[in-house]
């Protein structure tokens, strides 16, 4: 992963190889949509748009100019992490990939998949408390220990951390707002408490990074990165809160008035 001009010739195939999973993710989703349209009503266009933009926003953090700069610049790293850990999951959840997969599979296979989704380990990972600890707790470990400087030097660790950030962000999002299929649902009040506490932990960590830069990060970059995490996080968080409250608003709809209005 040495971004030197000497290695320029080998860089292009490398980038292409890194882009492959994202291209595949888009193609598979399109294919599932087209196949399932044969025997169901049309899969909505906006869901394709959410999927493609979600995949692209994850890709921004891993390939291209921001990803390259992120190796040497903490500010760029933080921009990438916002895309990968917060924006991409929010967009992808709105594409409802599990719902799409379920309606594409045959009844037998769909039953097996739903058994997996209802299984104990999956339910534990999708519990709001567990998912938010994995998500925000993971970030605390990354930025308050030696892990951050270690990941800049080991390619494999680098990939594992990014994968965790994305996956934990996705789990967290599906555990708080229910758009896609969800095996077990928890009350609004539990999720509201978890949401507020995890947003608070995110804000605290942003200011903590500002005050105590992670290992090897220059103070100006830590200041910039901390503020991007804080205010950038705010933008995505307000979307999460809005969606969450909107779901409450729909669920709490008064039903008695329906019988009066003929």
């Amino acid at each position: 992963m040495n971004h030197n001009h000497v290695h320029h010739a080998s860089e292009l195939p490398n980038e292409l190889l890194l882009a492959l999973p994202f291209v595949l993710a888009i193609l598979i989703y399109l294919l599932l949509g087209l196949v399932s349209n044969q025997c169901h009503k049309q899969w909505p266009i906006y869901r394709y748009i959410f999927w493609v933009s979600g995949v692209l926003s994850a890709a921004v953090a891993l390939i291209g100019p921001i990803a390259d700069t992120a190796h040497i610049n903490f500010t760029a790293h933080m921009v990438g992490h916002l895309f990968l850990g917060m924006l991409a999951p929010l967009l992808l959840v709105h594409a409802a990939p599990m719902t799409l997969l379920m309606r594409t599979l045959s009844v037998g296979h769909a039953r097996k998949l739903s058994r997996v989704l209802k299984s104990f380990p999956v339910r534990i990972y999708c519990h709001p408390v567990v998912a938010s600890i994995l998500n925000i707790g993971g970030l605390w470990v990354l930025y308050t220990t030696e892990l951050y400087s270690a990941m800049q030097h080991h390619v494999l660790l680098h990939m594992v951390v990014h994968f965790h950030v994305f996956l934990a962000g996705y789990l967290y999002t599906i555990s708080i707002i229910y758009i896609d299929l969800t095996a077990h649902r928890y009350s609004f009040s539990l999720r509201a408490i978890v949401l507020i506490l995890s947003l608070a932990a995110h804000g605290i960590l942003s200011k903590y990074i500002y005050a105590y830069p992670p290992g090897g990060v220059p103070i100006e970059q830590a200041h910039m990165g901390g503020m991007i995490m804080y205010y950038g996080g705010d933008i995505i968080e307000i979307c999460l809160i809005f969606l969450f409250c909107q779901q409450w608003y729909k669920a709490a709809r008064p039903r008695t008035s329906v019988s009066i209005s003929h």
């Binding site: 507020i196 605290i204 005050a211 901390g226 968080e237 809160i241 909107q246 409450w248």
Partner: protein, 159 residues
């Protein structure tokens, strides 16, 4: 009108709660937009902020975002139930805004030393203005809430 009174009385608590939440969110928004971003009186972080201050600051920031949105949805909910009572709601608004400002001005600024209102000036007049305004808002809000509570009982008695 009688249904209006009945539904208002049934949702006294929700009127109060939505007012409090939006009041808190409004004050937090003014704090962030005016004192942090426009005037640069407050600091994102100053070197004297202890860890407990960071925790308190973080929780209040998250809660104020949440309460603004949740408060707005609660008002919509009251309106579709024909139960919104602006007077009582405004009482809640003053309690939420004044209560938060008083807490911010005493506990967060003075006890936890998160940050001060201004730097490089004589701070006492700022602190007094800040906290007295907050106390006035809080007391006015409490008076309105008690009065609307009594009004609601009277309405129910005559209905």
């Amino acid at each position: 009108m009688s249904t209006n009174h009945a539904s208002r009385s049934a949702y006294l608590g929700r009127n109060l709660l939505s007012g409090c939440l939006l009041g808190l969110g409004f004050v937090a928004f003014i704090d962030e937009a005016v004192f942090h971003q426009l005037l640069h009186w407050h600091h994102f972080y100053d070197k004297s902020t202890p860890d407990i201050g960071l925790v308190s600051d973080g929780i209040f920031h998250a809660f104020s975002w949440f309460s603004t949105v949740a408060g707005a949805f609660l008002v919509s909910d009251l309106r579709r139930r024909n139960a919104w009572w602006p007077k009582r709601w405004f009482g809640g608004f003053l309690i939420g805004g004044g209560g938060f400002n008083l807490f911010d001005g005493t506990v967060q600024h003075k006890l936890m030393r998160i940050h001060q209102i201004r730097y490089n000036v004589e701070i006492a007049p700022y602190d007094w203005v800040w906290n007295i305004l907050a106390a006035i808002m809080l007391i006015a809000g409490l008076i309105i809430v008690f009065r609307t509570g009594r009004e609601s009982k009277v309405m129910e008695g005559t209905a």
